[in-house]
C-alpha cells in the first residue's frame, strides 16, 4: 500500500484516531469511550471515524462485548410519576377489603380507571403471590400480605428514572421482574426496555500502524477540506493543501423534481400521436348518456348501459337539453335506421334517458362530440380521457382510469387503411414489428379489429381495438366520409414497463414507490 497516498486521503477525524492509537505501545486496544476521550472527539465523530477506518482496514476490532442495558419506556416514566396497574389494583382492593365492599374485576376496571388487560395481568400476579384471593362470586379480597412485585416495581422505577442501568447491576429477583415487565414483540405496553449495548475495542492494523508512525514522525500538514471564495480571492489556495476525498463512497440521497412515471409514459404516447398528425380533443368528466352511448349506436337496452355498469349523477340527474338536430336524428336511427341504410334497432327511443347524466364511461364519447362539431376532413384526433366504470376495484379493475382513443376521417379511409394505421401504432407506440389482427366486436364499428403486437421487450400483448364507425354513428352527426375509431389499451403495457402487477399501483399513494420507480418504455 502507498502510505503517502493513503495519508493524503485521510479525514482529520481519522488522523486523530490513528495518532491517538499510534502514541500507545503497539497492539494496545482502546474501548470507544477511552478512545473518544484520548482523541478529544465527540461520540458521534468517533463513530464516523471508526467506521471509515474499519472500511479501509487501518484498524481492527479487538474485542466486542454485549451489555444489556435497562431503561424506562414512556409508560415506565408514567408509572414512575403516578402508579403502576399492579399498585393501583392493590390500592383499590385493600380499600375495598378494609371497608368490606364487594369488588369484582369490572369494578376494578371502572374504579381503578384501568384497561381490562392490565387488570387481569395484575390480578393474576397478585393472586399467585397470595396477596389477593378470588372468593365466591368472582369477588376479590386482600390477604394483608405484602406484594413483592409491587414493591420491586416501585424500587426499580425509582432506580432507573434518572438513567439507564446495566442489567447485571440488579439482583436476581429484580432481574426477573424486569424480564416480566419489559417491552417485547407484541407487547409494547410495558415499563422497561432492555437494549443491548455493544462495546468494542480497537487496535491498529499493520497498515494502520505504518500510517500512524508516518503521521507521528512527519507531523500533520495543514489541510483544508473546502475550497472557499476567500482562498480564491487572495490566491492563498496555492499554499493550501486540499484534502483528498474517498470518492468511492455512496453519496447522500437527495429529493428530486420529477414527472410521475405513468404520466411520463402517457406523455410519450401523446408526443407520438401529435407527431403522427393527431390533434388533441378534450371532454368533460360528466357526460350525457346521449354522447356517451346513444350517439355511438349503443341501444338503450344494451347490457353495458345497466345500472351496474355506469355511474349516474345525483344532482342534476339530467341535462336540460341535448343539441339538435343530433338528438332527433340519433333517435330515429335507433328506431328505424332513418336514412343511414340501416334497419335500426327497432325499439322506441327514450329521449329522457338520453338526457341522463353519467360519469364518462368511455373515451369514445369525446370522439362522438368531435364528429358533431364539424371536424376537419381529412382529420386525425385523439384524447387521453379519464373514464369511470362501475367495477369492484381489484388488481385488474380500477374505477377510474385513462383511455387513449381517437378517430381518423378521410375519403381514403377503408378497412385496409384501418389496418395500416394500426400497423403504424404498433410500430410507433409499442416498437413492435410483429402484429396480429383479429376480428372483434364493438357496438359502434363494423368491421371491427383487435390488434395484438409483439413488444420487443415485453412480449405479445393486446394493444388496442379499432374499426370503421357505422354509418348509424357518423351520418346523424353530419359526417359523410368514412371514419376510423380506435382505442389503445395502454395500462397493461405501462404496468409491464413499470414492473407493477396491480392496476391500483398506477395511482399509488406510496411516495417512496413513486420516487424510485423508473419507467423504461
Amino acid at each position: 500500500m502507498d502510505i503517502s497516498a493513503l495519508i493524503d486521503s485521510l479525514h482529520p477525524l481519522e488522523i486523530k484516531v490513528l495518532t491517538t492509537l499510534g502514541l500507545r505501545p503497539s497492539e494496545t486496544a482502546l474501548g470507544s469511550e477511552q478512545l473518544a476521550g484520548a482523541a478529544e472527539l465527540e461520540a458521534s465523530q468517533l463513530s464516523m471515524a471508526v467506521e471509515w477506518l474499519l472500511a479501509k482496514s487501518l484498524i481492527t476490532v479487538q474485542t466486542e462485548t454485549v451489555t444489556p442495558i435497562v431503561s424506562l419506556t414512556k409508560i415506565g416514566e408514567e408509572y414512575h410519576q403516578t402508579t403502576s396497574p399492579i399498585e393501583r389494583v392493590l390500592e383499590v382492593a385493600r380499600e375495598a377489603t378494609s371497608t368490606g365492599k364487594r369488588l369484582t374485576i369490572p369494578d376494578l376496571q371502572s374504579q381503578g380507571g384501568l384497561d381490562p388487560s392490565d387488570v387481569s395481568k395484575a390480578v393474576g400476579r397478585l393472586k399467585k403471590e397470595g396477596v389477593v384471593l378470588i372468593i365466591q362470586g368472582g369477588c376479590i379480597e386482600t390477604t394483608g400480605r405484602p406484594s413483592p412485585t409491587a414493591e420491586a416495581l416501585r424500587t426499580l422505577l425509582g432506580d432507573m428514572h434518572d438513567s439507564p442501568k446495566e442489567l447485571k447491576s440488579f439482583t436476581e429477583a429484580h432481574r426477573q421482574i424486569i424480564e416480566d415487565f419489559a417491552v417485547k414483540r407484541g407487547n409494547a405496553k410495558e415499563p422497561f426496555r432492555v437494549d443491548e449495548r455493544v462495546a468494542r475495542s480497537f487496535m491498529l492494523s499493520p497498515d494502520g500502524a505504518g500510517a500512524a508512525a508516518q503521521l507521528l514522525t512527519q507531523g500533520v500538514a495543514e489541510e483544508v477540506s473546502q475550497l472557499t471564495p476567500d482562498l480564491l480571492k487572495d490566491g492563498s489556495w496555492r499554499q493550501t493543501r486540499l484534502r483528498k476525498y474517498t470518492i468511492s463512497l455512496r453519496p447522500p440521497r437527495i429529493g428530486t423534481g420529477k414527472k410521475h412515471p405513468y404520466r411520463e409514459f402517457l406523455d410519450t404516447v401523446k408526443t407520438k400521436l401529435v407527431s403522427m398528425g393527431f390533434q388533441e380533443m378534450r371532454g368533460a368528466l360528466v357526460e350525457t348518456e346521449f354522447w356517451d352511448m346513444d350517439a355511438l349506436f349503443m341501444p338503450q337496452f344494451h347490457p353495458a348501459r345497466d345500472i351496474h355498469d355506469v355511474y349516474f349523477i345525483k344532482e342534476p340527474s339530467h341535462t336540460t337539453a341535448v343539441d339538435e338536430p343530433f338528438l332527433s336524428r340519433v333517435a330515429k336511427v335507433h328506431e328505424n335506421g332513418a336514412e343511414t341504410g340501416s334497419t335500426g334497432w327497432g325499439y322506441s327511443f327514450d329521449v329522457h334517458r338520453a338526457k341522463r347524466l353519467v360519469l364518462r364511461s368511455q373515451g369514445t364519447a369525446v370522439s362522438a362530440r368531435t364528429l358533431a362539431a364539424s371536424p376537419q376532413i381529412p382529420g386525425k384526433y385523439f384524447s387521453i380521457a379519464r373514464c369511470f366504470r362501475y367495477d369492484q376495484v381489484d388488481a385488474t379493475h380500477a374505477t377510474d382510469f385513462f383511455q387513449v382513443e381517437g378517430i381518423v376521417l378521410g375519403e381514403d379511409i377503408n378497412f385496409r387503411t384501418l389496418l395500416g394505421l394500426l400497423n403504424l401504432f404498433a410500430r410507433e407506440v409499442a416498437q413492435a414489428k410483429e402484429v396480429k389482427f383479429l376480428p372483434a366486436y364493438f357496438p359502434f364499428t363494423e368491421p371491427s379489429v383487435e390488434m395484438h403486437v409483439r413488444h420487443p421487450r415485453l412480449g405479445w400483448m393486446e394493444l388496442g381495438g379499432a374499426g370503421l364507425f357505422r354509418s348509424e354513428v357518423t351520418l346523424p352527426l353530419g359526417v359523410t366520409v368514412p371514419v376510423i375509431a380506435w382505442g389503445l389499451g395502454l395500462d397493461r403495457m405501462a404496468m409491464v414497463a413499470l414492473g407493477i402487477h396491480d392496476i391500483r399501483e398506477l395511482f399509488t399513494d406510496n411516495l417512496e414507490l413513486i420516487r424510485t420507480t423508473r419507467g423504461l418504455f
Partner: protein
C-alpha cells in the same frame, strides 16, 4: 360477450358431423378457427378437455354454444352451409299450438318444434341447458323478451295451448320443488318466481302452456313443470318452445335450437302456431321458420369499404363460406343470411363477414396518406408548461383518482357546508370511497402525504389534472376544469416557501398575479390567500390548517397552493 364452457371432444365430433371423429385438433388451429366466431379462448383444461370461450359479438346468439361455433367452422371448411330440410318444407299434418286471445297483453308470441332421434348425452344436456340460459339471459334480456322451455315429448298430447289463467286456477309441481303449487304460490315462493316474476306486469291473469289433457307444461317465463319439463340423459324425443314479446326474436331463438339439435342428429318437426289475430307473419305461423329476406349489395360498396377489388365471384365464395345464400349479379350480389341469424342491420355487416370469411390476414395494410397537422389543446399546453416548471422547482409529480369520497374532499378539509365543499355526487354509489368527483387538488396531495410519513423529507408534491365544479348554469350541471396543486411538507416549512414557488410559476407562465387575504377553512387564518389574476380569483394558497392535518393524521407542517389552469387561459 357471453363466456361459455364447451368440451373439446364434443366440438371435434360436431366438426366432423359425428362420425370419423378427429380427436386432437391442435390448440393453435382451434384458436385460429375461433377468429371466425370472434371467440377468445379464456381457459383450457387439458385433462378434462374443457374449454372456456368468450364470444364477443352480442348480435350473434347463434354462436353462444358449441354447436354454433362448430357450424361456423364447418361451413368455412366445406365452403357452404348444408341446408336444413325443416326450414325448406312445411309438414303436411303438423302438430298444433293454439294461442288463446288475451296473450297479446302479456307475452304475445310463441314458437315450438319437436326433435326426435337424438339421445341426450351428459355433455349434450349440459350444452342444451347452457344455450337455453345464455339465450334467455343475454339475448332475451333476462327472459324479458325471450325465454325457452325444453320438455320430454312422449308425455305431451297435442294440440298444446298457450293461454291466460287466474293465479290460483292451476297447480303443478315446478322444477326444484316437491309439491304442487299454484301460479301465485310460485311467484311468491319459488326462487325463479321471485327472480323473474316482475317481468309479468299484470299478475291478475298469468300465462300457461298446457297440453290437450290440460297438463301444465310450464308457467312461462318463470318455470317448467317437473313432470314434463325435466329433460334427462337418455331422452330421445324432445319438445322445445320459446315465448316472448318479439315475434322475430322468438322464432330466431327457436331456429337456433332447431339447428343445434339437428346438428346433433335429431330430426326436427315443425309445429304450427295458430294465433287468434294476425301477426306480421300471418295467423298461422309454422316454426322454425326462415323469415329472412335477401338483400342486394352493390359491389362498389363492399370494395370501397374493404379498400380492395374482389369481384362478384370472390365475394360470393366468401359469403357462402360464411353461411350465406348468395347469387351474384353484375355489379352486385344478392345475399341472404342463414335462418339462425338475424343480425343484418346494414351493408357494412355483410362487408365484415366477407373480411372475416377471407381472413383479416388476406388484406394488406395501407397507410392513410392524407396530410394532417397534429397538435395539443391550449389547456394541455398550459398544463404541460406548468408541469415542467414544477419539476424544475424540485416537485415530484403524483397522480390520483378523481372519483373519491366526500370525507376526503370535504369533511377532512373542513369544507362541509361551505362554498368550497360542493361536489358532483354519484347516485348509484357502490362504495362510499368512490362516490363523488374531486372539486380541487389539495386532497389528492394530502392523500400521498398522509401515507408517506416514512419517505424522507422534504416532500414537494404536485399534480395537474381534471376536477369537476358544480355549476347550475352549465348544461351538464358541472364544469370540468384542469387545475394544478402543489404541496410542501417538512419540519420548518412556512407560507413564503410555497409563495416563492407560486411566484416563479406565475412569472414563467406570464401571469401577473396578486394575493388577497382569504378566510378558507382548510388553511390557517392570516396565512391564506386568494390568488387573483386580472382581478379574477384563480386559486388559493396558504398554510394548511392543523385541524385538517390532524384529520388526515399528518404530523408535519404543510403549505400548499391550488391553481385553476382552465380559468387562467386568456387572463393577464
Amino acid at each position: 360477450m357471453p363466456t361459455i364452457t364447451i368440451f373439446k371432444d364434443d366440438l371435434e365430433s360436431l366438426l366432423t358431423g359425428g362420425d370419423g371423429i378427429d380427436r386432437g385438433i391442435p390448440m393453435a388451429q382451434l384458436e385460429e378457427w375461433l377468429m371466425l366466431v370472434k371467440g377468445e379462448l379464456k381457459g383450457h383444461n387439458p385433462e378434462t378437455g374443457e374449454l372456456r370461450i368468450e364470444l364477443q359479438d352480442s348480435n350473434r346468439p347463434d354462436l353462444w354454444c358449441c354447436e354454433g361455433i362448430a357450424r361456423q367452422i364447418r361451413i368455412k371448411q366445406q365452403g357452404r352451409l348444408k341446408p336444413y330440410a325443416f326450414f325448406a318444407k312445411t309438414p303436411k299434418s303438423p302438430h298444433h299450438l293454439i294461442v288463446k286471445p288475451g296473450m297479446e297483453q302479456v307475452r304475445p308470441y310463441v314458437a315450438a318444434c319437436t326433435a326426435k332421434g337424438y339421445r341426450v348425452t351428459e355433455k349434450g344436456l349440459a350444452q342444451l341447458i347452457q344455450t337455453q340460459e345464455k339465450l334467455a339471459d343475454i339475448f332475451g334480456r333476462k327472459r324479458k323478451t325471450v325465454s325457452i322451455g325444453i320438455y320430454q315429448l312422449r308425455n305431451i298430447t297435442f294440440p298444446v295451448t298457450y293461454e291466460l289463467v287466474k293465479p290460483d286456477e292451476v297447480r303443478f309441481t315446478p322444477l326444484g320443488m316437491e309439491t304442487a303449487m299454484t301460479l301465485s304460490e310460485i311467484l311468491m315462493v319459488h326462487p325463479k318466481g321471485l327472480e323473474y316474476g316482475p317481468i309479468l306486469a299484470v299478475q291478475s291473469l298469468l300465462p300457461i302452456l298446457r297440453d290437450a289433457k290440460a297438463q301444465p307444461l310450464s308457467f312461462p317465463p318463470i318455470i317448467n313443470s317437473r313432470e314434463i319439463g325435466e329433460v334427462r340423459v337418455g331422452d330421445d324425443e324432445l319438445f322445445v318452445e320459446v315465448t316472448g314479446t318479439d315475434l322475430r326474436m322468438v322464432i330466431l331463438s327457436l331456429n337456433i335450437f332447431a339447428a343445434n339439435l339437428a346438428d346433433r342428429g335429431a330430426t326436427i318437426e315443425p309445429v304450427e302456431v295458430r294465433y287468434p289475430t294476425s301477426t306480421v307473419l300471418g295467423t298461422r305461423v309454422t316454426t322454425p321458420q326462415d323469415f329472412g329476406k335477401p338483400v342486394t349489395i352493390q359491389m362498389k360498396a363492399i370494395e370501397q369499404a374493404l379498400g380492395q377489388e374482389l369481384g362478384e365471384a370472390m365475394v360470393k365464395q366468401a359469403l357462402e363460406a360464411y353461411g350465406y345464400d348468395v347469387s351474384a349479379e353484375k355489379g352486385s350480389v344478392k345475399a341472404k343470411l342463414p335462418p339462425y341469424r338475424h343480425d343484418l342491420m346494414h351493408t357494412m355487416d355483410v362487408v365484415e363477414d366477407v373480411a372475416m370469411s377471407r381472413g383479416y390476414a388476406e388484406f394488406t395494410p395501407v397507410m392513410p396518406a392524407q396530410f394532417t397537422v397534429g397538435g395539443l389543446s391550449a389547456i394541455e399546453q398550459l398544463s404541460d408548461r406548468s408541469r415542467e416548471l414544477m419539476v424544475g422547482l424540485g416537485f415530484q409529480e403524483i397522480i390520483s383518482n378523481i372519483l373519491g369520497s366526500p370525507d376526503q374532499y370535504c369533511r377532512a378539509m373542513r369544507l362541509e357546508g361551505t362554498e368550497w365543499g360542493r361536489t358532483v355526487e354519484v347516485n348509484n354509489v357502490m362504495s362510499l370511497s368512490f362516490s363523488c368527483l374531486r372539486q380541487w387538488m389539495l386532497p389528492s396531495l394530502l392523500r400521498i402525504e398522509a401515507a408517506s410519513s416514512r419517505a424522507f423529507y422534504p416532500h414537494r408534491l404536485f399534480e395537474a389534472g381534471d376536477v369537476a365544479i358544480p355549476d347550475g348554469t352549465h348544461e351538464l350541471g358541472s364544469r370540468t376544469e384542469t387545475m394544478i396543486g402543489a404541496l410542501i411538507a417538512h419540519a420548518t416549512t412556512h407560507f413564503s416557501e410555497i409563495h416563492s414557488c407560486l411566484d416563479v410559476l406565475c412569472y414563467y407562465l406570464g401571469k401577473d398575479y396578486s394575493l388577497e387575504p382569504v378566510q378558507h377553512p382548510s388553511f390557517l387564518e392570516g396565512r391564506a390567500g386568494r390568488i387573483l389574476v386580472s382581478g379574477k380569483p384563480v386559486g388559493v394558497i396558504g398554510e394548511v390548517h392543523p385541524e385538517v392535518l390532524e384529520r388526515w393524521q399528518i404530523s408535519m407542517p404543510v403549505v400548499a397552493f391550488d391553481l385553476n389552469l382552465s380559468q387562467l387561459i386568456g387572463l393577464g
